[in-house]
Symmetry: C2
C-alpha cells in the first residue's frame, strides 16, 4: 500500500467533489488499487464557506504555496479552471517536479504544448481525463484501450449545456432564447453562456481528442466552430419529421489522409445511439480501423462525475509514483497519423437545407438546377403545405463539398422567389 498525499487547488464545486469522493471511497480505492489517496492539503482563497466536508485541521489553507511548493505533497489536482492563474499554478507544480491532474480543457486546448514541455523537462506527469466528457473515461479509452487503432472518426456530444438546451427545445417546442433563460435560472447554463452555446467549450474538448488521435497538439486554430444560437424550433421539428435530431456535434474525421475538425449543430439519425443522448449527458463515438465503432456515454460535467475522473487520474499518478513509472502514458506524445487538416470548404458531408420560397410554379426547377450545376445531388425534398404566400421547402442532399453547397446557397439566396436567406445544417449518419 502506498499513501499518495494529494494537494487540491481550488475548493469550488469540483474540488469539493474530489475531496468528498476521496473521504468517502478512500478505503475502497486503496484496497482496489494499492494506492491510498490522502487529502493532505486544500488551497482556496475562500476558507470560510462550509462545503459540508470534514477536513482534518490544517488541511484547508488560503496559501497556494502550501500545495504547489510543499515537499510533502505528491500530486497536485488543479481545479481552479480558466486560463489565468490555473496555468501559473500548473507550471509551478510541474517545475517543482509534482505531477498534476487537471480538468481544465480550455487551458489544455490553448496552452497544452507549453504545459507538456514543462512536464517533460521535469520528467513528470500531467493527466487530464476530466477535461473531456466529465466522468466518462474516454481519454483513457482513446489512449490506452484503442492504442492499436488508427482512428477513423470521432463524433462527440461534448457540451452538456448545449445538449440540455437542444433537448428542451425539442421536448417543449420552445425557442432557444426561452430555454437558455430557463437553463440559466436552473443553473445548467452560465450567465455568460458564450463559451458553451457558441461551441467554444466543445471545440476545446474536440481539439484534445483530435490531438490524441492524430498525434499533433492542434490547438484551436484548425477547428471550424459554429454554435447553437441559430438553431430554430422549426428546423428541430422538420428534422424530427425526417427521422433526425439536431445535436451540437464535434466531428473529427479522417478522409483521404486529411482530417476534418469541426463543431457544428448537425442532424443525426434518431435511431442512432448519439441520437438518444439527451439532457446534460455527453457521448463520444470513436471508430477505429481495427475495433470498428465504439461509444462512451455518461455525465459530461458536474461535481461528482468530474470528481470520478479526477480521482482515477490521481490513482494513475499514484501508481506511477509507486513504480517509478513516471510518464508511462505521457501527457502527449506526437506521432504519425494524418497528412493535413482539411479546410472547411473541402469537407464533404450531407446537408439539410431549408428555403422559404414563394408558392409559385418553377421554383423547384430553379433550385434543383443550381444544385445540379454545382454537382449536388438531392436525396429528398419536402415542401410544406401552408396557407401563406411563401412556403418552407426542406432539401436533404447526398454527400457534397462544402464549397459547392455554399456557392449553391449563395445563388439560391439571390433568386427573387426565395424570400429569406437559406438555412443550412450538416447531416452526420453515424453512431
Amino acid at each position: 500500500m502506498r499513501d499518495i498525499r494529494v494537494g487540491v487547488v481550488g475548493y469550488g464545486t469540483v474540488g469539493a467533489g474530489v475531496v468528498d469522493c476521496l473521504l468517502r471511497n478512500g478505503d475502497l480505492i486503496a484496497e482496489r488499487s494499492g494506492i491510498r489517496p490522502v487529502v493532505a492539503r486544500v488551497a482556496d482563497l475562500d476558507v470560510a464557506t462550509d462545503r459540508g466536508l470534514c477536513l482534518e485541521p490544517g488541511v484547508l489553507t488560503a496559501d497556494v504555496a502550501a500545495v504547489l511548493d510543499a515537499p510533502d505533497i505528491d500530486v497536485v489536482a488543479e481545479l481552479v479552471g480558466g486560463i489565468g492563474v490555473a496555468k501559473e499554478f500548473i507550471l509551478r507544480a510541474l517545475r517543482n517536479g509534482k505531477p498534476v491532474v487537471t480538468a481544465n480543457k480550455a487551458l489544455l486546448a490553448e496552452c497544452g504544448e507549453e504545459i507538456f514541455t514543462v512536464a517533460e523537462a521535469s520528467q513528470t506527469d500531467v493527466y487530464y481525463e476530466a477535461s473531456v466528457g466529465g466522468g466518462i473515461p474516454c481519454i483513457k479509452a482513446m489512449r490506452e484501450g484503442l492504442v492499436a487503432n488508427r482512428i477513423k472518426e470521432i463524433v462527440g456530444i461534448l457540451n452538456g449545456t448545449c445538449n440540455y438546451i437542444l433537448t428542451r427545445m425539442e421536448a417543449e417546442r420552445a425557442d432557444f432564447e426561452e430555454v437558455l433563460a430557463e437553463a440559466q435560472r436552473a443553473g445548467y447554463a452560465e450567465s455568460d453562456p458564450g463559451l458553451d452555446v457558441d461551441g467554444i467549450d466543445t471545440a476545446h474538448k474536440a481539439t484534445i481528442l483530435a490531438s490524441l488521435a492524430y498525434g499533433e497538439w492542434f490547438g484551436m486554430a484548425p477547428i471550424h466552430i459554429e454554435g447553437i444560437r441559430q438553431v430554430t424550433l422549426q428546423d428541430i421539428a422538420y428534422a424530427a419529421e425526417l427521422g433526425y435530431r439536431i445535436k451540437l456535434l464535434a466531428v473529427i474525421r479522417e478522409e483521404d489522409g486529411g482530417v476534418q475538425m469541426r463543431v457544428q449543430p448537425s442532424l443525426i439519425p434518431v435511431r442512432s445511439l448519439l441520437g438518444h443522448v439527451d439532457g446534460v449527458f455527453n457521448a463520444v463515438w470513436v471508430r477505429g480501423d481495427t475495433v470498428g465503432g465504439t461509444l462512451y456515454y455518461g455525465r459530461g460535467a458536474g461535481r461528482d462525475a468530474t470528481a470520478s475522473a479526477v480521482v482515477a487520474d490521481i490513482v494513475d499518478v499514484g501508481l506511477n509514483l509507486r513504480y517509478g513509472s513516471h510518464r508511462r502514458v505521457p501527457a502527449f506524445r506526437p506521432h504519425q497519423g494524418y497528412e493535413r487538416v482539411v479546410p472547411m470548404q473541402d469537407v464533404r458531408t450531407r446537408y439539410y437545407v431549408r428555403l422559404q420560397a414563394l408558392d409559385c410554379p418553377g421554383v423547384m426547377a430553379l433550385v434543383s438546377g443550381i444544385l445540379g450545376r454545382l454537382g449536388i445531388s438531392i436525396a429528398s425534398v419536402t415542401q410544406k403545405e401552408v396557407n401563406q404566400p411563401s412556403v418552407p421547402m426542406v432539401i436533404l442532399t447526398h454527400r457534397a463539398r462544402e464549397a459547392a453547397i455554399r456557392e449553391a446557397l449563395g445563388q439560391i439566396g439571390e433568386l427573387a422567389e426565395i424570400v429569406r436567406p437559406p438555412v443550412m445544417l450538416r447531416i452526420e449518419d453515424v453512431g
Copy 2:
C-alpha cells in the same frame, strides 16, 4: 522505445487478427506508446493454412513450447480458447514468469482463481480485456477509469449471437428456431449454439464484471442463468407495443448491501440506449456512486475487434515490462464491496406476465386477486381482442419479489380459466 517480443498461441481467427493488427499498425503503436510489439512466434497445430499474412521465416511453428518456454518471448497471447489446453498453456507460461494476455472468458470464469494464484506466485501479469465486450475497453474502464466508484449496477448486452437473433426475430417477425438456423448458416451462431443461446457465455462475462466490481472472484455458481430459447415472437411484439424491447441482459445490481447476479431475457425501454444496441453489438451500462450512469458500446466479438483489445493488453504488459511495474493493475485484487449474493427468490424487479385466458367474465378478478394477495401491484393490463375462445392478457407489474411472482404464477396457472402455462419476463428500466 522498447521492443516486446510477442508469442501468439492459437493462429485461428482471433490469433490471425492480432498478428494482422500488429503487422499493420505496429509502427503507430510504437510511436504512440513507446512499446514496439514484435510478432516473434506464432504456435498452432495447423501451420499449413494460408491466413493471408506475411510472417517472417521461422515465426510460425507447430511447437507450443517455442512460445511458452522460449527465453526470447516477453509476453504470451493465449488465443486458443476453451477450458482444455488453454489453461495448461496459460499456467505454463505464467510459471515460466511470462505475462499472459487472453480473451478466454470461459476459462477465467471457471478457473480464474487458480490462474491468478499462479500469476501472483510468479509475480507476473494476466490481462484479459478481450474476454468481455470484445473490442470495447470496458474492463479498463471498470478497473481504472471508474476506480473511484462503488459500483451500484452493471447491465450488459454481452453476447452478440443472442442479440443478433433477438434483433432479427423482431425485424423479420421470425421465430427463434428459424433465425437461429439462418444465423448458423451465416456464421453468426455455432453449430452447437448452447453456450450462446442458453446464456452461458453471457454469464461467463457477467461473473468477470461482477468480480471486478465487488471484489470476490465469484465463478459461475452464484449466477442465475436463463437463455433465449423460450423467447417468442409474440412476446417480442407485445413488448414492442408497450414500448419495450427484449434483450438478453446480464444484470448485476447492488441492493441493500446484497448483490444480484443474473442473466435473463428482459424487457428494456425502447428509448434507452441499451434498447438501441442491435445485431452483433455489445454494450455495458455501469452505474457508479460517484460517476452516475455510464455506457460502453462496440463490437462484442469478431476477429479485429477482439484483436484491438488483445493488442491494447499487450501494450499494457509491455509498459509494465519497460518500467518494471509488473502487477501495476493485477489480474484480480480482492476487496470489500458487498455483503451477500441475493438469492434469486429475493430479487425484486418489475415483471412482464403473459397469460392465455378463456374469454369469460371474472378472469381478471381472479388473476388480480391472486397478485394482490401476494403483494404484487399491477402497473398495466392489456387484453388482446381476438376471435378465439381464449385470449392473451399481458400484465406489467410494479416492483415485486421473485418468490412472490413465482408463487402467484403457480396459483394463476392452476386456474381453470388459464389455458396455458403463464409466461414471465423481467423488466429493467435502465440504460
